[in-house]
């Protein structure tokens, strides 16, 4: 579909082209007022999260949602990480964090390598039926996960991968494949054909050209893919709930369990500290990667 509206070869940020602004006019003030108000709307929840996580429960019960804590405390953070309870387990978020680290560190490279080879083969080594397979894969990008989840559970159970770490890696590889393959296929197709011909003249085959020519060329697109996958897999909730099992429960699932645990008094400060901790990894990726992240979104527009 229109996944190619924003090709990666084009710079996303081109410089404004709107009407030229004059000096300070009411319209200019209006522009900034709108932008600043919008920015406040987007920043408010982050502010509330931070201040709530630094308050003690007595202060929270006073209801000053937006105020900076009168008495600063880091206990909620320590509790969220170390001793917060989900059901009977009171080990905080740290098991979930390490599970998410494991899942992400394994799933990101596996899904990217698979998609890279797909894109390379689809651009230079098409075979009978390869385009049809690709079409099916793109169709898969639009299929709601619920339509395939149950048969996939049964299939993974049959081969003994259900509720295991390799199982969840396989699941992330499957569902990352459509968009990543599209990404790499478009990238390789935009390379000059002479590169490929030169490799053929030198007698290199499928893997020779891949490792010696294409792999080194695809560093920029791979950065985009890594950002896309790292945030996507870290933030995943559905697959973690269904496929990871208790042993490999990712951080998002554990966070939700901690917050929605109904026993005892709800500790909003601990909940918000836990929420920030879960959001921290993708936020760091976002702020470090900057404009690459925007490209990833544009490229991953079908991922949803």
């Amino acid at each position: 579909m229109s996944t190619n509206a924003l090709p990666l070869s084009q710079p996303i940020v081109d410089g404004p082209r709107g009407a030229k602004p004059k000096r300070i006019t009411p319209a200019r003030i209006g522009v900034y007022a709108f932008l600043v108000l919008s920015a406040l709307f987007f920043l408010l929840p982050l502010w509330v999260m931070i201040v709530t996580s630094l308050k003690g429960m007595p202060e929270i019960r006073l209801g000053h949602l937006f105020n900076w804590p009168a008495e600063l405390t880091f206990d909620p953070w320590i509790k969220a990480w170390d001793t917060a309870c989900t059901g009977r387990d009171c080990n905080g978020l740290k098991p979930g964090f390490w599970n998410s680290v494991k899942i992400t560190l394994l799933s990101v490279p596996v899904s990217i390598v698979v998609a890279m080879i797909n894109g390379y083969a689809l651009s230079f080594w098409r075979y009978k039926g390869s385009e049809l397979l690709f079409a099916v894969l793109i169709f898969g990008a639009f299929v709601p996960y619920q339509v395939v989840i149950y048969p996939l559970i049964i299939g993974l159970r049959e081969v003994g991968l259900f509720a295991t770490l390799p199982g969840i890696v396989v699941v992330h590889t499957i569902f990352g494949m459509p968009i990543l393959t599209l990404l790499y296929r478009n990238f390789f197709a935009s390379l000059p054909a002479e590169l490929f011909k030169a490799g053929r003249v030198d007698g290199a085959g499928f893997w020779g050209i891949f490792f010696r020519i294409m792999l080194p060329m695809s560093v920029p697109i791979t950065i985009v893919a890594v950002i896309l996958q790292t945030t996507g897999i870290w933030n995943d909730f559905l697959f973690g709930t269904v496929f990871a099992g208790r042993e490999n429960m990712p951080m998002t699932v554990q966070l939700n369990n901690i917050v929605t645990t109904t026993t005892g008094i709800r500790e909003y400060n601990v909940n918000m500290a836990a929420t920030i901790l879960t959001a921290a990894v993708p936020l760091v990726v976002y702020f470090v990667s900057g404009k690459w992240f925007v490209r990833g979104i544009a490229a991953g527009a079908v991922k949803g």
Partner: protein, 315 residues
């Protein structure tokens, strides 16, 4: 679907079909071997799994799948179950509201960002950062903000506006709108980014021409530039649509489908029936229904392309 994919590919990468060297080769075994994961995924997951889902929707499978066919009984039950009817109604309302407001707010932000403003990168970062966070995080934050006793409502009342009311999640009538707001907060930045890229892709000559003709800026944005951004709009639209059909995480985190069943959505219905409710046949009937909008989208896309081709042929 193959038409769809090829159409998309050809639009962006004219090179791919132009090089004769890339003509389809005979069977290259290395290539087949290298794409084995793709072959297994495409056929095994996106064909066979879907077929199984559809087949099981015609059976009375409970905890485990079986092949005792019961015809359309599961569908009959599905469409007479309040929980499902409300789920469908909710996803339509949720979808319509988040898409309309998302598009309008996203385009407005993009237009305002396009006014040669200072600190553009800063504003962009602020509008986009929520998208980096998961929908679970988004849902939990807004659940806290909407807390009736300690959230925004309480904070505003304390300042003196005692009749102020903003706690949508505890009320059956308004809970869904609370979820819509959370979803918008998470995703509007992306729409803005796509729209802004679209705006900047519009030919600068258009702006000069509009200026020469004395057309006011706002009219140019609304009636000239907007229709030229079809690509960006379609991208944003499809991105939002797939998100809407799949909506799950944010509802679980914000309301868990409640109060009552007032914020149930189809995705939750399916998951609940294959897990807690142990009624696979019913879950698969619901899953099969979820496939319909996707098929509809493909048919519409196919018709549009067919129409475009026919027009081209006539010209």
């Amino acid at each position: 679907m193959s038409q769809v994919a090829q159409g998309g590919g050809a639009a962006a990468v004219p090179a791919s079909s132009a090089f004769p060297v890339r003509r389809r080769r005979k069977f290259n075994y290395q290539s087949v071997l290298g794409t084995l994961p793709m072959i297994i995924t495409a056929i095994g997951v996106f064909v066979i799994c879907i077929i199984f889902s559809v087949i099981w929707s015609f059976t009375n499978s409970k905890v485990f799948p079986n092949f005792n066919f019961v015809g359309l009984a599961q569908y009959q039950r599905l469409w007479t179950t309040d929980r499902w009817l409300i789920s469908v109604q909710n996803v339509v309302i949720f979808g319509a509201l988040s898409m309309v407001f998302g598009m309008v707010f996203g385009y407005l932000l993009a237009v305002f960002m396009d006014q040669r403003i200072k600190q553009e990168d800063l504003f962009r970062s602020i509008f986009l950062y929520p998208f980096a966070m998961s929908l679970v995080v988004t849902g939990l934050v807004w659940q806290w903000m909407f807390d009736p006793n300690l959230g925004i409502q309480a904070a505003v009342r304390q300042i003196g506006w005692t009749s102020f009311s903003l706690a949508p999640l505890v009320n059956k009538e308004t809970a869904l709108y609370g979820v819509v707001l959370g979803g918008l907060w998470n995703g509007v930045g992306v729409t803005m980014a796509i729209m802004l890229a679209g705006l900047r892709g519009v030919d600068a000559e258009i702006w000069k021409a509009a200026k020469v003709d004395g057309i006011p800026t706002w009219k140019t944005y609304l009636f000239i530039v907007l229709p030229m951004m079809r690509g960006a709009i379609a991208t944003a639209f499809i991105l939002q649509l797939t998100g809407v059909v799949r909506v799950f995480d944010i509802v679980i985190a914000m309301t868990q489908g409640g109060p009552g069943i007032s914020t149930q959505v189809p995705a939750i219905y399916v998951i609940q029936h294959i897990t807690d409710r142990a009624n696979v046949g019913q879950g698969m009937a619901a899953a099969t229904m979820m496939l319909l909008p996707v098929l509809l989208l493909i048919v519409v896309q196919g018709l549009l392309q067919w129409n475009a081709k026919r027009k081209q042929g006539r010209a």
